[in-house]
Amino acid sequence: MKQILIDPITRLEGHGKIAIFLNDKGNVENAYMQIPELRGFEKFAQGRRAEDMPQITSRICGVCPVAHHFAATKALDDAFNVEPTLVAKKLRELMYCGYFIYDHILHFYYLGGPDFVVGPDAPAAKRNVLGVIEKAGVEIGKEVIKHRAYGQKITAILGGKATHPVCGLPGGVSKGLNNDEVKDIETMTKSCKDFAIFTLKLFDDIVLANKDYVDLILSDPYQLKILNMGLVDKNNKVNFYDGKIRVTDLDAKEHVKFDVKDYYNIIAEHVEEWSYIKFPYLKSIGWNGYKDGKGTGLYRVGPLGRLNASEGMATPLADKEFKRMYKTLGGRPVHSTLAFHWARLIELLYATERTLELIKEPDITSDDIRNPVGKPGEGFGVVEAARGTLIHHYKLDKDGLIDKANLIVATVNNAAAMNMSIRDAARGLIKDGKVNDGLLNMVEMAFRAYDPCFGCATHTLPGQMPMKVKIYNHNKELYKTLKQNL
């Protein structure tokens, strides 16, 4: 059987490759998306000071550091038995929205968007942000750059720096806002909101007004009928920072809604020998292989997963766009993988609207930003990373060092979905042995829609080791007893 390798896959965060097997007739027998890397945060978290986790785990991913930063911080709130102050919660969510603004702009214009703006089968050298700027004009290019920078700046004002922020502490944050900063954030966010509206219009003009693209979005190779997962508030509206985890089924009905503390009763991770990534599924249904449709226990997360798993957006303009998307694409849930791009832009608009709500809170400049910590114990934290539901779970020892940790990262949640999406795209697009760069890029589009972050996916993090640890091999035999220090 002939094998085609796409190596590395590009315009994503992290490393990956796709192996496509063709049968004798030149049609696709199967395809695998492989993640070739592992950094082992799981292990080396052990023995670290618990309060270092927001900064250590942010290095899992430099594209979504804020997500790890706050999943860790929230897990520490829980582990140290401390409720953050109300002001601190608002500041965290505000910073979190700033992160969504820059991350979603990054994906639409730099990573995924070039496939639509420049074209899926445009020359490889043009399918990038510079190609987008060439096509859309330097003025628009400058707007893109400016607004991504605004998102970064909003995040940096609160976080110290945007890439690898430092402000998250159990019980609150290390830094508050002053009036000048409030004004700056408000001005920048208003501009971002206009830019979000502009970008949705651009999506209408370039994608939705183009019959070829709409046909592509709705075409069979890009459909995947599995469940959806995302954080929701008490009204089942999308929330990025807090809430319960909701899973909806193929008919958009609630399958389960749970608190993050129950995650390991709900989710299990399947292991394969051909990839360093793991493949989560719902325990209630079980692992049935890479099959979609009725009976599947697989789910997806991220913008489309979140919108599918919710009943709407909590801000007015974004909610209007939510309704419009579902009306256009035939109701909830939408199974078209390429609709991720549309959902992402609706979330971009929500992030700007929500920031403007938070920045107007009367106590936003209060210095009541920290509560003292209690005794160390076990803690769970969940946020929606731009790419989907992200769970951190730590056990601390009596000295407040990390004893055990486990993470389920956004992109890992999508591992099975992406593997099936690239397989189905390859099967639908590659026929009779005819392969070219454009077709292979269209296979890549099937994973790119998810905005995967294989940095995240391969650097997850459990751990156990204060000063001494016993390591057992797979036969449960004692392999080694270790001390922490060199």
């Binding site: 590395p8 199967n30 890397e37 292990k43 430099g62 140290f80 990054l106 730099y110 486990n406 220090n485």
Partner: protein, 330 residues
């Protein structure tokens, strides 16, 4: 990309690559914001997986030294990264070790406190959400029913880029700041590069850029950031909080301190210092409660030192791979 184009094209050829890293260095490049348009106009980017669709085969097809400057971020922790590091070294005239992970291993180099087996045991063997009854672990070569799939081999030890190939320049930081990136790019474009082997960065420490005042005060107690609810407007070290500022190269404008948090050392050792952790321990020894230390019993000294929990993670958070002692002996 092709040879004819190269000959007629005078623009410098740039490449960017990431190995064992997080992508933050790639974001740092984008953070030069609108100046990226000037850079893009001044150079040809011939390889950049995060943003462009060139593949490994495109690099393999290049002549040796085809790339003028390659910015390489991330440490080396598997066979693929080692292979690409060697490939890009061969294809590049100038190789820049970009960011904390390439320069010192970065936070992922804390994995040098363990090895591959221990990592696998935790990731694929022991955590509450795992479903792995057959105890499978990823393999470098796997037979699936359609054929063979391969994966790179994970190494026991994270290495820096310069422990793997010859490096021309170093740009520290987690991630490097946009200003430092622009300084480096400008120096390259204007052909004003310092001597080979130089760190491109200021010759000062984070303390020199910090907003807090320093006195010569000694401390009796080490505190953790979780235990200090409100910091005072003075040097964090003098408040008992371990701040890596004295042992860390500046260039970051002490941004973490502006957010009321201590420096954790991401810019690597100060100029002319061999080992960042050793320097910090010596700085700490000179400030830590040592008035009258000659009168202290061994137990009292030990008690003082025991307040420093997780010394490796504190003093070598970003640089374990190039520390004098760079891994746990197992």
């Amino acid at each position: 990309m092709n040879k004819e184009k190269t000959k007629s094209n005078k623009k410098p050829q740039f490449a960017f690559y990431w190995a064992a890293s997080c992508g933050g260095c790639e974001i740092a490049v984008l953070d030069i914001n609108e100046k990226i348009l000037d850079v893009a106009a001044a150079v040809d980017i011939v390889f950049w997986p995060v943003a462009m669709d060139f593949k490994y085969k495109d690099v393999e097809a290049m002549d040796d030294k085809h790339i003028d400057v390659c910015f390489f971020n991330g440490g080396i922790r598997n066979s693929e990264q080692e292979h690409i590091a060697k490939l890009l070294r061969k294809k590049s005239k100038v190789l820049v070790s970009f960011g904390a992970c390439a320069c010192g291993g970065g936070i992922p180099a804390l994995a040098n406190l363990s090895n591959k087996k221990e990592i696998f045991d935790v990731v694929y063997g022991n955590n509450p959400s795992l479903d792995n009854p057959k105890k499978l672990v990823p393999k470098t070569s796997v037979k699936v029913k359609e054929g063979e799939l391969t994966l790179p081999e994970l190494y026991d030890t994270v290495k820096t880029l310069d422990q793997t190939v010859d490096v021309d320049y170093y740009l520290p930081g987690c991630p490097p700041t946009p200003d430092m990136i622009l300084t480096a790019v400008t120096a390259i474009l204007e052909n004003k590069l310092p001597p080979k082997g130089s760190v491109i960065g200021p010759m000062k420490s984070v303390c020199d850029e910090c907003r807090f005042e320093k006195s010569a005060k000694k401390i009796k107690e080490i505190k953790r950031v979780i235990d200090v609810i409100k910091i005072e407007e003075k040097c964090l070290l003098e408040q008992g909080i371990i701040c890596m500022g004295p042992a860390t190269r500046g260039g970051c404008d002490a941004q973490c301190l502006d957010a009321n948090m201590p420096c954790t050392g991401c810019h690597g050792p100060t100029p002319n210092s061999l080992d960042q952790g050793a320097k910090m321990m010596s700085a700490l020894a000179s400030i830590l409660g040592i008035e009258g230390e000659e009168k202290m019993s061994d137990e009292e000294v030990q008690k003082l030192i025991d307040q420093i929990v997780d010394p490796v993670g504190t003093f070598y958070k970003y640089g374990l791979a190039n520390a004098l002692i760079n891994r746990k002996v197992m």
